[in-house]
């Protein structure tokens, strides 16, 4: 099993990188490769079981776009051949068509997905999400300066019961194409969603995936799920 963690020195906001720390505990035999932003990604020449990219500062998004643009075709090829990707927070915006600033200027992105992002740096959105993949319930946090626009009706990650999707007008969250999963959910997403972590390991080809600290992680998940379902967790963020 090979897992490539892209640019962990630069793309690690809000505890995102701990998703990989936890996964490593669940998969002690797997090889975790950390690629710095001044190195060539390993996925260019090797196949990976998972490619992970975490949340980043807005200026870093521009650096990452420049870094990955030469490998656009390779990324598309990997998505088409069912390689598992997990892009959390604002990281999947770099695979859209462009990112628009408040002043209307646009930063061209990789253009793999038919969406675009719009930033609003003076209005931070904080909210919570309760959604489903099939019957699996997912909880999560959003803390963002940007939303994405475009049609993800056929390529969404989660259908939400609470919270907002790609933007305030939709309940369809994130992007899912084959095994590419991009979600605006930030922070320790795998740790607060142990059932999804198991599902992700299955997608990666792990036989009989096991969760480390299963009892505690499931109790924490059940607690949070009950809270998210309660009335005090509001429908919209702020």
């Amino acid at each position: 099993m090979k897992i490539e963690v892209l640019f962990p020195e630069s793309c690690n906001l809000y505890g995102d990188i701990q998703n990989m720390v936890y996964l490593k505990k669940c998969m002690p035999e797997a090889e975790f490769i950390e690629t710095a932003i001044d190195e060539e990604p390993k996925f260019v020449k090797e196949d990976m079981n998972l490619i992970y990219l975490g949340s980043m500062k807005e200026r870093t998004q521009e650096k990452v776009i420049n870094k990955l643009l030469p490998y656009k075709q390779r990324i598309e090829e990997l998505i088409n051949n069912n390689t598992v990707f997990l892009f959390t927070g604002n990281s999947f915006e770099i695979l859209g068509k462009y990112i628009e600033n408040e002043d209307g200027s646009k930063i061209d992105a990789l253009g793999i997905f038919d969406i675009y992002a719009k930033r609003d740096m003076m209005h931070r959105y904080n909210g919570m999400v309760l959604g489903k993949i099939d019957d699996m319930e997912i909880v999560g946090f959003k803390s963002l300066f940007s939303f994405s626009y475009g049609n993800n009706e056929n390529e969404y990650f989660l259908k939400l019961q609470k919270g907002i999707g790609l933007n305030k007008e939709t309940k369809l969250e994130g992007i899912r194409r084959n095994n590419f999963i991009g979600t605006y959910l930030t922070g320790p997403f795998l740790i607060i969603n142990p059932l999804f972590t198991k599902y992700l390991m299955e997608l990666m080809g792990v036989e009989n995936p096991k969760l480390e600290f299963e009892e505690t992680i499931m109790e924490a998940y059940e607690n949070r799920l009950a809270e998210f379902k309660s009335k005090r967790v509001s429908e919209q963020g702020h």
Partner: protein
């Protein structure tokens, strides 16, 4: 700016409100300023201000540094306008300006020393134009409010007057990126220490690559998080040299040398905590820049004591019970607290009560910050018990397990006070109660129960 009719109305209404609040013994450090700004939005620009203004900003330490500067200036005989007991956002600063002015809007004070919230820069600097802006440091703070360090730096840089002389932390490269167009800058820092390392294990290091060429930065020495002396191995980018360098720190004799271009002088060390030593060097730099003679500053620091608002300890029989305001949702403040506990003497128990008061009451907390926090520092053989209480107890327990803390050392309870039942007094000498800004009453109940338990133990 010319005093307008609207300005006088704002001034008088706000002064009357402030007077009434004082009569009612209510806090008058926010509302009067808010009213003044509502009536006259450029109130802060119009009101007469002291001849010299110094603003103190940054993520951590700004209150301590401001208090040191105010106390020192007042000992030198200056009258200061300050927001020591008030808020550090625009309404708080407007309240302080109002308080320091006559009924005709003339200033009554000689020097303004103002603590400024970083996020409020845009609402303050256009009206104040400080002669000096001191920044203590820039770290990651609340995810919801402060997002990330680029966001904070962009806010400060979009508002800071180019004419202000900047006093910056040379050991903090993020802080050093403030005011690229400001011509006048001086830096303070602390020389290499025996405790410095080549590579820190802290999770948060918000500048790891060269901002010029993206190459991974190297460090002559690292202290904690991104604090240290850095250089790029690929280009000429590096930490600036300190104009005020703390060096030869003698913890035993409690002295520190401050090296400047005009010589080296010995000062009394007012704390053995590195965070407060940075605060002290920053205050000395500011006072020198304000024109206070070195000999006078040395004399003042001889009598100085740091007022610890975050830390208090009490000896209860043979145990030490410590209350430590760790600031939940602030990964750096919590990590530094954990580091302090790790290095404290004796066998220890930690009561971890870090839930956000408002989220427990109204919603559910975004716990991302605990994964930015170095819980790994609590994985130490001297820490016998970590007892977590609160709505998020399971989350903290899981975080501790991921940090490698053995399961048998962790106890978990839904309610903070009930968690005291798990405390094993046979195992520990010192008990640390960690709490958040708004959970003081709960922390006090926890402390009372611990004291009761210790006394019961003695009787038995």
């Amino acid at each position: 700016m010319k005093k307008t009719f609207k300005f006088y109305i704002a001034l008088w209404v706000a002064k009357i409100v402030a007077g009434l609040l004082k009569l009612l013994r209510r806090n008058a450090s926010f509302l009067p300023g808010k009213i003044a700004l509502k009536i006259c939005p450029d109130f802060m620009g119009i009101i007469e201000k002291p001849e010299k203004i110094i603003a103190i900003t940054g993520t951590n330490g700004k209150t301590t540094v401001s208090n040191m500067i105010i106390d020192a200036l007042e000992k030198c005989g200056y009258t200061t306008l300050n927001n020591r007991i008030g808020s550090n956002v625009n309404s708080g600063i407007a309240s302080s300006l109002l308080n320091g002015a006559t009924f005709m809007g003339k200033t009554k004070k000689q020097i303004a020393v103002l603590e400024v919230d970083e996020r409020s820069s845009k609402k303050i600097y256009p009206y104040l134009k400080p002669n000096y802006v001191l920044c203590t440091n820039i770290f990651r703070d609340s995810i919801k409010r402060n997002a990330h360090t680029d966001f904070i730096i962009d806010i400060i840089n979009s508002a800071i007057p180019k004419e202000s002389k900047l006093i910056l932390n040379a050991d903090d490269l993020i802080c050093c990126s403030i005011g690229p167009e400001n011509k006048e800058k001086v830096y303070f820092g602390i020389d290499k220490l025996d405790t410095d390392v080549e590579e820190t294990t802290n999770i948060l290091r918000d500048i790891r690559t060269c901002p010029v060429c993206n190459t991974k930065l190297k460090y002559e020495y690292m202290r904690y998080h991104h604090i240290g002396k850095a250089y790029c191995p690929n280009c000429s980018f590096k930490s600036p040299e300190s104009d005020y360098l703390g060096t030869n720190i003698d913890f035993e004799n409690k002295t520190i040398d401050i090296k400047t271009k005009s010589g080296t002088n010995k000062y009394k060390l007012i704390s053995d905590n590195i965070i407060n030593i940075y605060n002290m060097v920053a205050a000395i730099a500011a006072l020198t820049e304000l024109g206070i003679e070195t000999q006078k500053i040395i004399e003042i620091f001889n009598d100085f004591k740091i007022v610890e608002t975050r830390y208090s300890e009490e000896k209860v029989n043979d145990k030490k019970v410590v209350m430590y305001l760790a600031k939940g949702q602030n990964a750096i403040a919590c990590s530094r607290t954990f580091d302090y506990i790790k290095h404290a003497e004796g066998k220890k128990a930690v009561m971890l009560n870090l839930d956000d008061f408002f989220d427990v009451k109204d919603s559910t907390e975004n716990i991302s910050w605990i994964y930015d926090t170095d819980y790994e520092l609590l994985n130490d053989d001297s820490i016998e018990q970590i007892i977590v209480g609160g709505a998020r107890a399971k989350d903290h327990c899981l975080r501790l397990l991921i940090a490698g803390v053995p399961k048998e050392r962790i106890k978990c309870e839904r309610y903070e006070v009930d968690a005291v039942n798990h405390l094993d007094l046979e195992k520990v000498d010192n008990i640390f109660i960690l709490y958040d800004v708004y959970t003081v009453p709960t922390a006090e109940k926890v402390k009372a129960k611990i004291k009761e338990k210790i006394m019961q133990n003695v009787e038995e």
